[in-house]
Symmetry: C2
Subunit: 357 residues, 2 copies
DNA sequence: CTGTTAGCGCATTCAG
DNA sequence: CTGAATGCGCTAACAG
């Protein structure tokens, strides 16, 4: 456990290990122990050049014996790389983000890059700072999930390093965007209800405001609209309410909807959180699901499978997106070609949608 | 936007800005621009010594003009500090962890330290690697949430840097552990049911296995047991089932419980996830909540308020714990005293528990 | 193949 | 108060 080579002993005498609170093994130490120069040590670790097998082995042994850990600061300073890719999300706690993170971890697993996570908590100021800490750490690549930053800034970033933007489309920048086809998903959800014989289908949307950079809500809404139009049905404004993706707003929205008095037999809600609120609202009113109203959500939140009755919903392939994003970053770092597909969401049919026949 | 001082021009001529893909402003540059030496620049940023106000101002101006960002690698290499605290969790996606992270972000907000997140995904091997990436980045402090590492390793870490362990008690190391009083919470949940007139109270526990380092499940169970004993009731083995904290296991557990045929009017479930499963199982059997069986969960997961009926549950003060942990780390870094309380959980009473009177 | 050397950007002595 | 000089640990030419 105690190395007695010249360098180490010198360290001991200078009391260096005392001051620096930590005896950190450096290539200096293992060079000494292996009887080679530090460059050779560096070489075997980066195999940046041929090294005689015997020396190579000696270095490896010494490194193992001393439990060497490279100093990333030194490496980064000297090489300009950090061997890490930054991941910025909006809310660690959501199932969608969590799945993406899982995918990224897996995707980076066999590379030399480590993920560095930061979270914006849906607040622009926090997101800004989080992004800054990532950049300050000189991440070599960036995976941004639903970033709220301006398109300009994003393009600027992309010029400096590999980047992947998830869940948002930046115009003229589609090459770097990985998204789910929300339009298609909305269309299919609605089509499904139509096929089951429903004609009066209400919709609770997500946040639609023009200024919003994320178009998920608008796309789902458009899909709903077009599905109706395609079978000759005119979307009824009275059957449409804008929510804000949060549970509470689902509860409010269903109240609004019911108070308008316009009858409907099915309801497509833009996400499961709001669907939870809706479900509670319907329950309070004594309206049965799916007997009185068919309900379909979006996101396949873990608990949606356990709602009563189980909610029919749409699953975004989060984990897969994470690993695709990671792979794309690695390819960019490697100057290899890459492409980001538009993912398609999957309709998860559970018992809560019942035919009105 | 373009600095024309000697240093910068030299950089331009050497083509340095071209090779290094990025024109990074260094103290060199701002020293030149402000007409001082780099040491002076360094001094004003660290106010490690008095600097004449005029020069100080000049430096600040130059820094602002050039949009200077210190190179953390260089700083870290030279100072031995990273100005960051590592945060290791088991699952970003859970509400409890998410709350803690929120608290940590807030707690670190006004310090010079930035959080660095890593996640173990409940897998020891991943946790190990995550911890390693944190250490490799030379974090100055460590907040570990429900770590599975050996007590030895944790103590070893604590010797090298400030540390806070959340949700786990390491023997002889309580000073660094921040926990919720699960025993008390379990006791009170059960007591509440007793007070409402229930005498046959079943319990679905979390993971109890001896080897488990986390004692949350066992503590909640003990609280349940003692609450019964204290009113002269003998815990009935037939009314106790071990689950694994996951939704699915709640569904299985309630099936097991019902199949035993032993009657009960109330049920305390060790977490909300399992309670969701239970709720579904009861629904399928046509058993009403709370009319037939009173239900109480644990964790106050977001959707528990929207279950049908809303689940009575217990809230752990996650966010508060996060900021307390952050504060404790900062104090340790500052060599100031600190203490980590045992937090007490809060019983959130909703409609799912009804008196039998 | 291998050792020597020069920085990477900054903090920190050490002399003024 | 302030500038010059040294070194943190490592990579990347540069000469053998």
């Amino acid at each position: 456990m105690q190395c007695l080579c010249e360098t180490c002993v010198a360290d001991l005498n200078t009391g260096k290990t005392m001051t620096t609170q930590q005896k950190h093994v450096t290539i200096q130490h293992i060079a000494e122990r292996a009887g080679v120069s530090i460059s050779t040590v560096s070489r075997v670790f980066n195999d940046s050049a041929g090294v005689k097998e015997s020396k190579r082995q000696a270095v490896m042994d010494a490194a193992a014996a001393l439990d060497y850990r490279p100093n990333l600061f030194a490496q980064g300073l000297a090489s300009g790389q950090s061997m890490s890719v930054g991941v910025l999300t909006q809310n660690f706690g959501s199932a969608f983000y969590d799945g993406i993170l899982r995918g990224i971890i897996a995707g980076l697993d066999n590379s030399n890059y480590a993920p560095l996570f930061a979270d914006g908590r849906w607040r622009l100021d926090i997101e800004e700072r989080a992004l800054q800490t990532l950049l300050d750490r000189r991440v070599d690549g960036l995976i941004l999930v639903g970033p709220q930053q301006s398109a300009d800034l994003l393009k600027q970033l992309a010029q400096k390093m590999p980047i992947v933007i998830i869940s948002r489309i930046v115009e003229g920048f589609e090459k770097f965007c990985l998204t789910v086809d929300n339009y298609d998903a909305g269309y299919r959800a609605t089509k499904y209800l139509l096929d089951r014989g429903h004609h009066q289908i209400a919709h609770i949307t997500g946040v639609l405001s023009e200024s919003r950079v994320l178009r998920d809500a608008a796309d789902r809404f458009a899909g709903y609209r077009d599905a109706l139009l395609d079978v000759g049905l005119e979307p009824d404004p009275d059957l449409i309410v804008e929510g804000n993706f949060r549970t509470q707003s689902g509860l409010l929205a269903i109240e609004t909807l019911l108070s308008r008095g316009r009858p409907f037999s099915a309801l497509f809600v833009a996400n499961d959180q709001m669907a939870s609120g809706v479900r509670l609202g319907l329950y309070r009113r004594g309206i049965r699901v799916p007997d009185d109203i068919a309900l379909i959500g979006f996101d396949d939140q873990p608990h949606s499978a356990y709602m009563i009755p189980p909610l029919t919903t749409i699953r975004q392939p989060a984990e897969e997106m994470g690993s695709i994003a990671a792979e794309a970053i690695l390819n960019q770092l490697d100057d290899k070609p890459f492409s980001l597909p538009t993912m398609s969401a999957e309709l998860i049919i559970r018992e809560s949608v019942k035919s009105i026949y």
